[in-house]
Assembly symmetry: none
Homo-oligomer: 119 residues x 2
Amino acid sequence: MHPIYVVLCRSMLALSLGGNMSTPPIFILVIYDISDDSRRNEMAVALKRLGLTRVQRSAFIGPSSSALVSDVKNVSRRIIDLETDNVQIYPLTQASYNMRIVIGRELFRDDAAAGGYLV
Amino acid sequence: MHPIYVVLCRSMLALSLGGNMSTPPIFILVIYDISDDSRRNEMAVALKRLGLTRVQRSAFIGPSSSALVSDVKNVSRRIIDLETDNVQIYPLTQASYNMRIVIGRELFRDDAAAGGYLV
């Protein structure tokens, strides 16, 4: 093995283990599991109004901010049936977003072009 | 040089060049949008067989590995209709997973206890 390659590996190992563990999220991914058609539609309308972008029928992506997370929590609590429905919010770093993989037909291909790749 | 170290270096090199993730992902989130009941069920069965854990009816979480990502891509391509259906795979860091927010009833509360919080 070439010494330069070894040095490169070691510096990457140091970066990986000791590097910035607190990369701030820049997106939130909101996924929901709502059985009732009316509530599910209401949820989609509410998330669109909050400025999120639809990436699947029950999945939206928006910018990461505590205000937006709070808004999504509030509309979720207002709309969903807490006994049967479920909403999950995942913070995503830029790297996570760039590494996402999309298979098949995405709802908005223009948006998909902003990150990730189609396979 | 020990072969395992070389493999580790190569995977880190791939990560570093491809995704620029300073913090490596430890989970993958798989979400799918499949209109046909039969294909949707088939997808759920396939993801369970691959060892992923269901967190919503159309969302699964599993450990991050290139082998698992490859398997998920393969079963997706085999099962879904590429013209109408959609699968998305998001790498998640431990921090992203810990910061996830769950509202309402999660499919498996035992699993939810492993990370995130219910609101």
